[in-house]
């Protein structure tokens, strides 16, 4: 089967969720789990969380159909499919080739002006959000939302301010469907090169005191009786990137008792700059201080559990503490997805043993 045919079939299978209304941007309140194919998984889950009464920062979901409209009207779609149809066999090629493909295809998207109708639509939702949160040029996060959860494949932009910047970052998220790692992933999994199209989640930026993730199973040992929370000062990117030693709390799923507390030496954190975000030193006094109170740990664990129960499988949830709100209203959830524990191959068991031996016995705080 040639690339064009298989792409048509593949996309057709993903398009079923589209509504007939013709609406292309939705506020989070308007979507839910069933809209996965319309707005991407991340947006659909955020809507679902709001339905459940969980605290989610306000924002809107840009549908995948809007990207298609952009690709069609700007000519980027045609250009990409022409380019892709000229490519030979990609499986087994070096990563440098994927870098080149990525650069070329992302260039085709990012060099296109967003057609007026589309940019107006996005701008009006952004203005509405500004009114809602009472900040005219509200700082927002602009996140990718594909129909499949592909952690780390696509891009996210934080602390985006003003219409121009928002439009630019939306286009960049769209083009991040073609990062080298995403292309290589699709090629290896026999997914067509153009097989991922992205929705976009635009949310009000939270002023993060601390942030992190909560797993409703131990990601290393796959123990499903516990919730493991990783946390750092500042934004969640300071945890997700895995670069720093962070705090780790283990909570019992049944009793919500805090079973383990590991206070990492949190030397660096990610914080909001005037625009965008950056790494910064944590003041020495705060480095070895836990970045969550016990109450907050338990509250986060409870939210994670209600998500697991509602969605029917262990979750990997991103949360943030906003100091602008008093507890217990200071916790916000940024996304959730099915938690993946380390694979259970023999090598993985060895990995886990090595990891546990190293961490439990030889780390200074182990």
């Amino acid at each position: 089967m040639d690339e064009a045919n298989s792409l048509l079939l593949y996309l057709a299978s993903k398009m079923k969720g589209e509504t007939a209304s013709g609406k292309l941007i939705f506020s989070f309140e308007e979507v839910g789990q069933e809209h996965n194919k319309l707005v991407g998984k991340k947006c659909a889950n955020l809507g679902e969380m709001i339905r459940m009464g969980l605290p989610v920062p306000p924002g809107f979901a840009i549908s995948i159909a809007l990207y298609r409209k952009f690709a069609e009207e700007s000519g980027a779609g045609e250009e990409i499919s022409g380019y892709v149809s000229r490519l030979g066999e990609l499986k087994g090629q070096k990563i440098t080739l994927f870098d080149k493909l990525s650069q070329d295809i992302r260039g085709m998207i990012e060099s296109k002006e967003i057609p007026k109708g589309i940019s107006k639509m996005i701008a009006s939702h952004y203005k509405e959000l500004g009114k809602k949160v009472k900040v005219p040029d509200a700082a927002v996060s602009v996140r990718s939302a594909g129909t499949e959860s592909r952690p780390g494949m696509f891009e996210t932009y934080l602390n985006v301010i003003g219409v121009e910047d928002v439009l630019d970052k939306v286009r960049k998220v769209w083009s991040s469907a073609y990062t080298a790692r995403a292309i290589a992933f699709r090629v290896n999994k026999d997914i067509p090169v153009m097989g991922d199209e992205l929705g976009v989640a635009v949310s009000k930026m939270v002023n993060a005191r601390s942030a992190g993730i909560a797993f409703t199973l131990d990601p290393v040992t796959a123990d499903t009786s516990r919730i493991v929370i990783s946390a750092n000062w500042g934004l969640g990117e300071g945890v997700v990137s895995g670069a720093e030693s962070v705090d780790r709390f283990v909570v019992d799923k049944k009793s919500f008792a805090i079973l383990e507390t590991y206070i990492g030496k949190k030397a660096k954190q990610v914080i909001n700059k005037k625009r965008g975000v950056d790494w910064e030193e944590v003041p020495p006094k705060k480095q070895s201080v836990p970045c969550l109170s016990d109450d907050e740990i338990v509250a986060i664990a409870k939210m994670a559990m209600s998500l697991e129960k509602h969605l029917g499988e262990p979750q990997d949830m991103e949360w943030v503490i906003d100091p602008d709100f008093p507890p217990p209203h200071n916790i916000f959830l940024l996304q959730t997805r099915p938690a993946e524990a380390a694979a259970k191959k023999p090598e993985a068991v060895t990995d886990r043993m090595i990891d546990l031996i190293t961490k439990r016995f030889y780390r200074p705080n182990g």
């Binding site: 796959a222 123990d223 023999p346 060895t350 990891d355 190293t358 439990r360 016995f361």
Partner: protein
């Protein structure tokens, strides 16, 4: 021969880096911990010299090869024949993190293919030993003996370089399994649920035990029962020579001693050269055959071991039921590896220390004979009072030297040391607790903590026991105490006794088939006594620190090993 004179010089008989010299060693390492596992009774100068030099090298090599994050190796010294250890602790978190990177890589092959690596190490050692075995030490020239002396030490060096690799890997797995079962299910390695999972494994020691048991059965079949039952081992040997059947049995028995890959190349005493190896004095294994015959048909080694293996599988299955599905593979692998800690602990001693030390005893005794013949020392055994460098210097022309002043002085000191106090810690820290906290625990050295220095017993006041230790093997026993300080005295042990001793080494293994219980002064849950106790299902309490002092032979004692409690009844 020149006239031999005793010197009147006062001599400084200490070697820096080998003998413990307080002014030098204390400020450098701060705390030195007594190694009761290997230095009761005190060691001869020749053996101590080897131990300090090569065992310490082995630790440094293993810690470097495996890149143990928190410890670069052990430093050893000898003081009055006792061994003291100190730890090269890595304290800088940055350096620990750097070492961790290589540690993760170096540990992997041992976790993935423990048996394969150990098999290839064993093969290498057996290859080295077979060359050493071929040397005809009694007829070698002095020069050939000089070369043999060096070859023995080169082999000993290599043995120690291999020795600890498997030990660190398997003991780490043991410790991790214990940590996890403790956290999840409240099961410690002193508990029956844990111990049942890690025993009943086959290894060379048990294969040899079984072989001796079978030789006992063969003797019964050949109607030699009376000879074994009525005579002491030495006389058994003589009597066997006097009948056709006896000769036939002995021929087969000695054939096994000579042709098995280990066979009679096995020291009776684990940590010194002073006692004969099996091939040198077949009375040692003959006694074991005799013991088996006395125990009679009710004793079935195979059945006991099969029962343990069955119990083990049941215990593993019970634990796995409590483990969540996603973790079953992890626990299964961990249990398997922790089991290696048991079987490796015993088997490696056979292929490492017991074998080569038999070769060394043979070689050094041959050198001692040369020296004694020419009057350089009083008797061949006095060679154990010398150090290799001293032997090397006189071996080419022994008639030119008088070393008796040295060997006599050292022998007197060694004999005096038999009764010298052996303080548990030498330290310049404010207290023992501080010494442990600063100079032992941060090493996180699993061998130090679980085996050599041991954990501190935690008395349970409500049980009102007379003495406390760590549970090596669970169970209860009551019987007559038999205090045994050295191998020689093992023969006094009667069936049903409770053996009370400073510590155990694999050479003592067979006595576990005889006794009801074992109490030791030293060790931890991974020491020999604990491991062998578990393998034989004999209640064992280790690290009582003062068992041999508080308990007298003949007293009735009761032991509640599960709780580490010992009661002296009368």
């Amino acid at each position: 021969m020149p006239k031999k004179k005793q010197p009147k010089l006062k001599i400084w008989d200490k070697t820096i880096g080998s003998d413990y010299i307080e002014e030098i060693d204390l400020p450098q390492m701060h705390s030195w911990f007594f190694d009761g596992t290997h230095s009761i009774p005190p060691l001869t100068p020749l053996y101590a010299w080897h131990w300090v030099k090569y065992c310490s090298h082995g630790f440094k090599v293993a810690c470097s090869e495996l890149s143990i994050p928190t410890c670069k190796g052990w430093e050893l010294r000898t003081l009055n024949g006792s061994i003291y250890c100190a730890f090269h602790i890595v304290r800088d978190p940055k350096e620990i993190a750097e070492r961790e990177v290589k540690f993760r890589q170096a540990l992997r092959p041992w976790l993935e293919d423990f048996d394969g690596l150990w098999a290839s190490n064993k093969k290498e050692l057996l290859g080295i030993y077979s060359q050493l075995k071929e040397v005809d030490v009694d007829n070698a020239t002095n020069l050939q003996l000089c070369h043999h002396s060096r070859n023995l030490r080169r082999a000993y060096l290599r043995m120690w370089e291999i020795h600890f690799l498997g030990m660190y890997a398997s003991n780490n797995a043991w410790l991790l399994l214990e940590t996890m079962t403790k956290e999840r299910f409240g099961i410690k390695d002193q508990d029956p649920e844990f111990q049942d999972m890690v025993r009943g494994f086959d290894n060379k020691i048990y294969q040899m035990d079984k072989k001796l048991w079978e030789f006992g059965k063969l003797a019964l079949k050949m109607k030699l029962e009376d000879i074994f039952k009525k005579n002491e081992p030495q006389a058994i040997l003589t009597k066997l020579q006097q009948s056709a059947k006896g000769k036939e049995w002995l021929k087969e028995f000695m054939g096994y001693m000579k042709t098995d890959e280990v066979g009679g190349w096995r020291m009776r005493r684990f940590s010194d050269f002073t006692e004969p190896y099996w091939l040198e004095d077949p009375a040692t294994p003959i006694r074991l055959v005799k013991d088996n015959i006395i125990k009679g048909s009710s004793y079935n080694l195979e059945a006991t071991r099969a029962e343990l293996a069955q119990k083990r599988e049941a215990a593993i299955a019970t634990l796995l039921k409590r483990v969540p599905a996603e973790e079953k593979d992890l626990f299964r692998s961990l249990i398997r590896l922790a089991g290696k800690a048991s079987s490796y602990s015993e088997e490696h001693n056979l292929y490492c220390e017991l074998f080569i030390q038999a070769l060394m005893r043979r070689g050094y005794l041959a050198m001692g004979k040369r020296l004694a013949q020419k009057g350089a020392i009083d008797a061949p055994e006095d060679v154990f009072m010398m150090k290799p460098d001293e032997i090397d210097r006189v071996l080419m022309i022994p008639e030119a030297y008088d070393m008796r002043w040295l060997t006599r002085m050292r022998r007197a000191a060694w004999e005096k040391a038999q009764n010298a106090p052996q303080p548990p810690i030498l330290t310049d820290r404010a207290s023992k607790e501080e010494a442990i906290k600063k100079d032992l625990l941060p090493s996180k050295d699993v061998i130090a903590i679980k085996l050599v220095v041991g954990e501190v017993p935690q008395p349970k006041p409500e049980l009102k026991a007379d003495l406390w230790g760590i549970c090596g093997c669970t169970g209860e026993a009551e019987g007559t105490a038999r205090v045994v300080m050295m191998y020689e005295d093992l023969k006094k042990v009667q069936a049903g006794d409770i053996l009370v001793c400073p510590g155990i080494n694999p050479a003592w293994t067979p006595v576990f088939g005889l006794v009801k219980g074992v109490i030791t002064d030293t060790g931890g849950t991974l020491c020999h006594a604990a491991i062998i106790g578990r393998e034989y299902g004999v209640p064992t309490i280790v690290n009582t620190q003062q068992g041999t002092k508080k308990i007298k032979s003949g007293q009735k004692v009761r032991m509640d090993a599960t709780n580490g409690a010992i009661y002296i009844l009368k």
